[in-house]
């Protein structure tokens, strides 16, 4: 048996993230004792209509979220308990809503910093209705082997260590959340564990006091002794002593009180919980409480440390008198499934990786490019071309190579609004499309006819150089197997009207006195093709390709240089149109050659 929380308890949680976290802890306990999840609903108006996912074992349970308590209890008529995880400014309203629901009998409030008046009103309202209002500032309530309300009991391992999977003989009532856990642990080590442990909260006027719970424990035959952990301030401990001393009680009472340090501290210095405040005339001091408990016949250890032995002694007496029997521990307990991450940390599983990377890692405090921290690259004077070198070719390129890449990028950043890429981006921008999609529209144009010939040009020039072909052999091979030579030919430029960008790039690279076999070969090809037709010149794609292959960049990366450079221009075009607030573009009819059949009658459908 237990009090307050038992096998029939079904819960609604009022609140958001903190409430979901509590539900997870509660699910761990339910899993440990093999009962279905006690939480049936959440009430949280901002998320009403959605569900919260709560892990149970290795699966997930979807718990519905409602706008009101009434909706929750209508859909889940078994709910009889509410846990309040709402902020202090709205806690009273939420608590009242729960208390006023006919199905709900117990309301426990975790919220801290609830105004005293609100707490008193909630407590008084509950007493009037004959219900239990526990808290505020309560860590929760737990009945071993039966039901957990809130996060009381701590992590899963602690539930097992504290033997909360089965009933003991000790009731626990504390103001402090942390100490409730400590006492549960002590009861499990020095005795047979707990029946029910209740955190009543450390506020000055908790909704329910020790006496109400002592009465409940007195009427619970399984509970043989009750441990209360008190604090200076208020008169709850004195009232508990009064109750205990009033007549012969079935349960034994063990109590400790904190706050003796107050006697040797500057007056008015306040420690600990909100309620831990000495009265004006010495009432509520640790000593007066401790004395009152002693006088009532309760067992009062001198210090917190002596509590364990005192509990042990009580337990031994109970064993001797036959009131309790040594508990039988279950042979096997469920183990909480580990997350993959935890299991890997413990070297318990091996997972085949889904992807493999050889260039980049940002698991530390900053990204590393092929092992080099980004900030160190910056501080040592490296620039964007070096990052390209690292991420595209996994090597730190030289200052000279970086300069060439920089020039390539500057020359290819944009080519006016009329080319396919820029035009597509502008068209999209005018249709009100966002930056990333509009730029993507431009990038989609990059292909065999526009800007996408760099890779292919590089591939075939390299093929020729690698196979030591001469220009004629190459042209024959290309004509037979490939088609027009990528990187050769221009729509408007010709020998007489050369492409300034090509001239600039070739001039610079040649001035460096470095080996450029591909570029030399490409220029030799141009010598032949341009004679055949005026505009069959080495274009900018072909030039870039030859230079980059000479630098050692992988052929597959070459289009990347054009894509990257041109993205600068495409972004520019989008921003430009956006700033002008350009209107939607529609083609004029006179720009279209309507070559479709003339209007005619549709034949009947066969």
């Amino acid at each position: 048996m237990s009090i307050l929380a038992n096998k029939d308890t079904r819960v609604v949680i009022q609140g958001g993230a903190a409430g979901v976290n509590a539900a997870r802890r509660m699910a761990e306990f339910c899993y440990l004792i093999k009962r279905p999840l006690t939480v049936e609903a959440f009430v949280y108006p901002p998320d009403a209509g959605k569900t919260n996912e709560v892990p149970y074992g290795s699966g997930l349970i979807a718990i519905p979220i409602y706008k009101t308590i009434a909706e929750a209890t209508k859909n889940h008529p078994a709910i009889n308990t509410s846990l309040v995880y709402i902020g202090a400014d709205r806690a009273m309203k939420g608590g009242m809503e729960a208390l006023d629901d006919p199905n709900i009998k117990v309301v426990s409030m975790i919220t801290e910093g609830v105004p005293e008046k609100d707490a008193k009103l909630l407590g008084a309202h509950a007493r009037k209705l004959g219900k239990v209002f526990n808290g505020p500032s309560s860590i929760g309530i737990i009945s071993a082997g039966a039901c957990r309300l809130g996060v009381i009991g701590g992590a899963f391992d602690n539930l097992v260590l504290s033997k909360l999977y089965r009933e003991g003989s000790f009731g626990v009532i504390t103001k402090s959340g942390g100490l409730s856990n400590e006492i549960i642990w002590i009861c499990s080590q020095f005795a047979d564990g707990i029946t029910t442990a209740i955190g009543i909260g450390g506020d000055a006027y908790p909704g329910t006091d020790y006496v109400s719970y002592l009465e409940m424990f007195e009427n619970d035959p399984q509970t043989k002794a009750v441990v209360i952990v008190g604090e200076m301030g208020g008169d709850l401990e004195e009232r508990a002593a009064e109750w205990y001393g009033a007549k012969k009680r079935r349960v034994k009472l063990i109590g400790v009180v904190s706050g003796f340090c107050q006697e040797s501290l500057p007056k008015g210095m306040k420690f600990g919980h909100a309620g831990a405040k000495e009265g004006m005339k010495g009432e509520g001091s640790a000593r007066s409480k401790s004395d009152a408990l002693k006088k009532s016949g309760a067992i009062v250890p001198a210090t917190f440390g002596a509590l364990g032995p005192a509990i042990k002694e009580t337990y031994q007496e109970l064993l001797k008198s036959g009131q309790v029997k040594e508990p039988v521990e279950p042979a096997v307990l469920p183990r909480l499934p580990k997350s993959v991450e935890e299991a890997m940390k413990a070297d318990e599983v091996m997972v085949a990786p889904l992807i493999r990377t050889t260039i980049s890692d940002d698991r530390g405090d900053e990204p590393c490019y092929v092992g080099y921290p980004a900030s160190e690259l910056i501080n040592k004077g490296y620039e964007i071309p070096h990052v390209i070198g690292l991420l595209w070719d996994k090597r730190l390129i030289s200052r000279q190579e970086a300069e060439i890449i920089k020039r390539i990028m500057m020359l290819s950043a944009d080519h006016g609004p009329c080319v396919s890429g820029a035009y597509a981006t502008i068209l999209a921008a005018c249709a009100g499309i966002g930056l990333s999609q509009a730029v993507a529209a431009g990038l989609i144009m990059i292909g065999p006819r526009f800007g996408g010939a760099v890779t292919d040009a590089g591939r075939w020039f390299k093929y020729a150089v690698d196979n030591k072909m001469n220009v004629d052999e190459f042209l024959v091979y290309m004509k037979k197997n490939v088609g027009p030579v990528p990187g050769i030919g221009h729509r408007v430029k010709s020998l007489r009207n050369p492409d300034k960008r090509v001239k600039e790039l070739v001039g610079y690279v040649k001035s460096l006195n470095i080996k450029t076999p591909c570029l030399d070969f490409a220029l030799a090809v141009e010598q032949v093709t341009a004679v055949k037709k005026d505009n069959l010149i080495l274009n900018v794609d072909g030039t870039m390709a030859a230079v980059l292959v000479d630098m050692g960049f992988p052929v597959d990366s070459l289009n990347g240089f054009f894509i990257l450079s041109r993205t600068i221009g495409l972004i520019g075009h989008w921003v430009d149109q956006k700033r002008q607030d350009s209107r939607l573009i529609r083609l004029f009819d006179y720009l279209v050659n309507y070559a479709a059949p003339k209007r005619r009658e549709v034949p009947p459908l066969k």
Binding site: N21, G123, L179, M232, K270, F271, A276, G308
Partner: protein
């Protein structure tokens, strides 16, 4: 519980229709001089000047001057502003009119578990303290307001008669309304006096304690709460408070000058048991501290640095019960960072550190603490199998 100084306290009473003497709170002689020119009562009434600070025994300290004219009040203000009393510098002076009166009475409203109590006595000043049996009380359930008949009965029971009984009942009623509407925890007027000029009851001195947790529904609480222990907060204390107000969970820090055992425990409940254990062992606390509710590691780090900066400490008690949901590894991470910083700054020389803790990720957290030994810290680490306060016994063993 939040204490409010006289000025704002009287302001709240005035708001609810309780007669209070005219008063001004000033921060400089200039301000008072200007106010003296603007307000007739300052020129015509006898005045009282009091240091407007959270100080006990102001009378003895010469920080209350009575029977002054305006020039006298200006002189008294000049003398008081800037005076150093312990750690408090007087920065405000309250100047109020003296109310000539013959009789003194007492009225208070205090919070009780059931609701509240209205207290009335037909004696006041120091007389009421030695005649506490003359205080009559009316107990009220929360949510219940006293009826005029109840108040009049209370007033008559306390020995008020004739028209004064009605007036006292009315005064107590307003006190209750102020208490209830302002989320007060304690309101006391001692003395209440009859103003000779118009026969009205006037509140001469106010003690006001408000519920700081209710601040969210009182936008007009534009005053600061006063420290309750007769001194102002130190710089480090205020820094920790500033952190506390920003985070989920909490960190708390109060210095106790002269102590040598520094406290860095977790939890509002356990921290007091740790303090008790130190005192019981004959140790001297250097501070009170506490972190709870799974605070972020950086907040615990700030707290740790403050604890390590306490002068003359020999031991640091990093105690704690078995946490429910405070992540031991994370919060210990903050403490470890704080320790390292302190050590880097040349602190913690000869200081022994004592650790005991349980809770989520306790093993990882305790292991990280143990590893500090290799960095040259004098640290002793215990797990849940060592009873809560045994580390204090070990630390203070002679």
């Amino acid at each position: 519980m939040a204490k409010v100084l006289e000025g704002p306290g009287m302001g709240l009473m005035k708001k609810w229709g309780i007669h209070v003497p005219n008063y001004v709170v000033v921060t400089s002689v200039d301000e008072l001089t200007k106010l003296g020119q603007a307000n007739d009562w300052m020129k015509t009434s006898k005045l009282v000047a009091k240091a407007h600070e959270a100080l006990g025994s102001r009378f003895k300290l010469g920080l209350v001057k009575v029977g002054l004219d305006l020039n006298g009040a200006i002189a008294a203000t000049k003398e008081m502003i800037g005076r150093q009393v312990g750690s408090i510098t007087v920065s405000q002076v309250i100047v109020s009119e003296m109310v000539p009166h013959k009789e003194e009475y007492y009225c208070a409203v205090k919070s009780t578990r059931e609701g509240s109590e209205v207290l009335v006595a037909n004696c006041g000043g120091i007389e009421v303290e030695s005649n506490w049996d003359r205080v009559k009380r009316l107990c009220l359930e929360v949510g219940q307001s006293p009826s005029p008949a109840q108040l009049e009965k209370l007033s008559k029971d306390a020995g008020f008669a004739g028209p004064l009984a009605k007036k006292m009942a009315d005064f107590a009623g307003k006190m209750f309304t102020c208490f209830d509407s302002e989320d007060a925890q304690y309101l006391e007027v001692n003395p209440v006096v009859t103003r000779e000029s118009d026969g009205e009851l006037v509140a001469l001195d106010a003690v006001t304690l408000l519920d700081g947790d209710a601040k969210f529904r009182h936008p007009d609480w534009n005053f600061q709460f006063a420290a309750e222990f007769g001194r102002s907060y130190s710089k480090d204390e205020m820094e920790v408070m500033a952190v506390d107000s920003k985070i989920k969970g909490s960190v708390k820090f109060i210095e106790i000058p002269g102590g040598d055992t520094a406290m860095l425990p977790a939890g509002g409940g356990a921290s007091v048991y740790y303090s008790d254990a130190v005192v019981a062992r004959g140790g001297k606390l250097a501070n009170y501290a506490e972190y709870s509710g799974d605070p972020p590691d950086w907040a615990v780090e700030v707290l740790t640095e403050k604890v390590c900066s306490l002068p003359g400490i020999k031991n640091i008690i990093v105690g704690g019960a078995i946490a429910n949901f405070t992540d031991v590894k994370k919060t210990f991470g903050g403490i470890i960072n704080g320790f390292r910083k302190a050590k880097g700054d040349g602190k913690l020389k000869g200081v022994k550190i004592w650790v005991r803790r349980g809770g989520p990720r306790e093993k990882e957290g305790l292991d990280a603490m143990r590893a500090l030994k290799d960095e040259g810290f004098d640290i002793n680490v215990f797990d849940r199998n060592t009873p809560l306060t045994d580390i204090v016994d070990k630390a203070l063993q002679k």
